[in-house]
Assembly symmetry: C2
């Protein structure tokens, strides 16, 4: 029967087979197989780093989703964080906790999914950790990004008067898009270069909550205009559950579009509101303005 060391050997062989010609790959002095990976980081560039996990029963359902789709999502969530900071993905560490007995092919498919998502962004997997346990599947990706000429865009510099934008229609992602979205890395870099947004975040917790993150950290508020929030067809389809399409667009998580504030007009994006000096996130329905409380997700400890 296969064991973890067979899997690690397969990963090492695979990484050796990948041509080391890309810019990111040339930074990798030592990949998987030692205690740590070794990278030669360009000192002129900021190192951005973060980690995001995908838990069976929370972000994915292993009884429905293939291991390859789960691996892709785990990587794409992290690439989406790079988009949110407008940095370039540079390398990743792939970690899996596997339910005992899933077998080597399942583990390989998880890895192939991660690799498939990372490859278009020139983001080699340079290490990680593997263990099996009597628990559920958990996939964790650590991502390294590099500033590559663009100062990272944080959540803390929104100013009263800035416009609020989203990069695509929202809501109903759980019908399928949460597994298949494309991280907005290239768009984020273009926006950063052309318009220098004051803040940016990827929509994972839902518009109402993620805009709250920006407002709190920037010590501002915002008003969203209900009539211009772009509503995805999925939100309309999902509205059979009794909530309106607008409610889905405002509160559903896992859209992975970008939410940004900017003092400039940005053609082609959805302008959904404006930043204000008073704290709190509000929703305007015509004349009527009410506090917009987050409703998405269970986050209890």
């Amino acid at each position: 029967m296969a064991d973890e060391f067979d899997f690690l050997q397969w990963i090492k062989d695979r990484q050796r087979a990948v041509p080391r010609t890309s810019e990111s790959a040339r930074m990798v002095q030592l990949g998987s197989g030692d205690d740590l990976a070794v990278l030669r980081w360009p000192g002129s560039e900021l190192l951005l780093a973060g980690v995001d996990q995908v838990l069976d029963g929370v972000h994915v359902d292993s009884t429905i989703h293939s291991p390859q789709a789960i691996g892709r999502k785990a990587m794409n969530r992290n690439l989406s964080d790079c988009a949110a900071m407008a940095c370039l993905p540079a390398a990743a560490l792939a970690t899996v906790a596997l339910p005992r007995g899933v077998g080597l092919d399942y583990a390989k498919d998880l890895y192939l999914g991660m690799e498939e998502a990372a490859e278009p962004f020139d983001c080699p997997i340079v290490g990680g950790d593997t263990a099996s346990w009597p628990g559920k599947l958990l996939v964790t990706v650590t991502i390294f990004g590099r500033s590559a000429g663009i100062e990272p865009i944080t959540r803390r510099a929104a100013k009263a008067g800035d416009f609020v934008y989203v990069t695509g229609p929202l809501g109903g992602s759980l019908l399928g898009r949460h597994m298949t979205f494309s991280p907005r890395v290239t768009l984020a870099r273009d926006l950063a270069e052309q318009y220098r947004p004051s803040t940016m975040i990827d929509l994972s917790d839902g518009l109402s909550r993620d805009l709250g993150h920006i407002c709190r950290q920037s010590q501002v508020g915002a008003v969203i205009d209900a009539q211009v929030v772009p509503i995805h067809d999925d939100a309309v389809r999902m509205a059979k559950d009794g909530r309106t399409p607008l409610e889905h667009a405002l509160h559903d998580g896992e859209d992975y579009e970008l939410l940004l504030t900017c003092s400039h007009e940005i053609p082609g994006l959805h302008r959904v509101g404006v930043v204000t000096g008073d704290p709190g996130v509000y929703l305007r329905h015509g004349e009527n303005v009410e506090l917009l409380e987050p409703q998405a997700w269970e986050h209890k400890l």
Copy 2:
């Protein structure tokens, strides 16, 4: 009831309270609270990076071990990887998957355990991820190390004729030391500067298996002398289970001492064998030499 955002806010407040005077802390341009942490990496130094997870029921037992002790172990396993490469810990990302309902105090204690372990090594926690789920506890730490003047020591340069050393007595760690060990970071740096070992690894899988990792990656073999393997008192105590103290010293995992090969004599370390040109790890009992097969741990997928 507390939620993940209360925990994240507590982490942010805590990180703001830590004085930013140490060398590592000055590299941190932006810590927890945004999509990614931002570090200014000294371009003259290599970036070492890895990740290690601690799983409830495999590496720890949450019915016995306190959250603080579990947090400490999760961090110390990663600091031990820095020791194995002879680099200096520089920063960490702390990730937890919490069983639903454990509460905010439990989450804080996990974090405090990680922080307590990292603090003596000037290794600030700069980010991470938190989620709760209907699964078991899993703590994942990503570690960043910096070469700081010492070329990393890998597993791939052992030469026939090198001596094999370990830094302390082995075996029986599961009686308690696996939760309380001190990562050998300072010793590793000293050894690297004075003797430049050809390879180094921390003993997590057991001497027989970890020496096998070195031999395979260096394309050499080794012979261990049974009479000089340092046996920990815990291995003697544990030997009531029918295996000899020596077997525990050879095969038990989680000692977190260093195993190294070196062409120089190193006073003060336990010299346990020699590197050979023929592949395979062997054990010498007086005249008798036999293949030493790993016996530690369950690693089935």
